[in-house]
Homo-oligomer: 253 residues x 2
């Protein structure tokens, strides 16, 4: 009843620790019934077209999960009975490479939807891992499929969401897989919102490398060089401040 990586049912998939992830960071915690009507990202996500009353009807089968950093939300080739809306945190979608390493093909942020392939296929196409503590709503595929058929607004936002996913993937090709390592890293930093006002914690060098299609060492070297040039100021531990203009210049390649 499940993918090759896990003998247990799909329900347990988020609790399984893949060997490549440290064992202590494996469990997604169940928080409880979702309260979509008070959810901050409600308007961004799938159900923005629903009235409060309609929401109540579908709330029951939706669970709210806390996904600790490095925990696995679902794994490639596993059965896909759910889709997930990201409420907070960042989810990375990874694909395993034949040489053993892995490539990150997409980052999902609050308002994005993970595992949408569940709506047309019965298996997941990536492995989804929380890059930092995340909060997601787990929605049975049938709920989405039913709403998609009965509610035009949901249907429309689903299409938009799908196109958005395509755009993200294309952007990953153009911005993160093209040009010199410096240009890719600059684009990655811009993409992470580092160049904007609100600065967040950066991913590890390994993850940056997996995103930009370069090695961890090169990612580290480029970041160090950026710091020396004053393009990034790492306010020890907490925030990161970037020179947006300078990075944009480098991003041009």
């Amino acid at each position: 009843m499940d993918g090759p990586a896990s003998p247990a049912g799909p329900e347990e998939s988020v609790f399984m620790a893949p060997h490549r992830i440290k064992p202590y960071c494996t469990q997604a915690e169940w928080v409880g019934r979702a309260k979509c009507s008070v959810c901050d990202v409600r308007n961004l996500v799938l159900f923005s077209g629903l009235s409060a009353h309609e929401l109540d009807d579908i709330l029951l089968p939706i669970d709210n999960l806390r996904v600790p950093q490095h925990a696995v939300l679902y794994e490639q080739n596993q059965l896909a009975p759910f889709v997930y809306t990201v409420r907070s945190g960042i989810i990375k979608l990874c694909v395993d490479l034949p040489n053993g390493s892995q490539r990150i093909v997409r980052l999902l942020r609050p308002g994005d939807v993970a595992g949408m392939e569940a709506l047309v296929d019965d298996r997941h196409h990536h492995t989804a891992i929380a890059m930092r503590d995340a909060d997601v709503c787990r929605i049975p595929r049938e709920v989405v499929l039913r709403l998609d058929q009965t509610n035009p607004a949901v249907h429309r936002s689903l299409m938009q969401r799908w196109q958005c996913t395509v755009d993200q993937a294309d952007h990953c090709i153009v911005a993160l897989s093209t040009g010199s390592a410096e240009a890719r890293m600059a684009r990655l930093l811009i993409m992470l919102g580092c160049a904007g006002s609100h600065t967040e914690l950066l991913p590890s060098r390994e993850e940056m490398g997996a995103l930009a299609g370069i090695t961890t060492e090169t990612a580290s070297r480029v970041m160090a060089e950026f710091k020396r040039r004053g393009l990034i100021h790492s306010h020890k531990g907490s925030d990161v401040v970037c020179d947006a203009a300078g990075l944009a210049e480098i991003a041009k390649g």
Copy 2:
């Protein structure tokens, strides 16, 4: 009423020659009303769920276009009033890079749909160019949107088509933008169906490079090396025969 690249209406977009394309290969030829009921790829594409009668109703606004090799079907940022189903040939979706060159983000083959962003956005996200003589059906977005709402089968195949697009983009990241030039080229050849039974004419070295994120020269060198090793036999001018197993080995990286 149109994108910045063309002062004329969207109707003329396929007739416009961008400066980077040779002037003689610019026009998409109008063939006539589409005959979906006898179309070979009908079952593969959007309208597979429609009865012959339903088809008749929507045929009127659909035109069948012949797109000569190197002709531009539509351009990035232009208004997008149509989607296109590919009946024959291969369409490449390109994105212009800041340095002036361009990256091919996807190849569309018979049965694929081009310009689906038209359904949720009013501008095209790529430039679509025929890699070889192609045959496409041009469908007004409103037709698809209406069918999508009224016909569950069309709606379902639309979702599948969208997910398929995402998968293609992801595959482009993983297969064509990761690993050594040799591995990428091997994966590209496999992807082009060269390793299969029916062999087709290959793209130019320049296009191969744009697909794999490497230079034209490197693409040429790798291809020449493959020939020397006997992995590809270029039956002068016509077909290409490949050693599927050998290429698959190299593709692993």
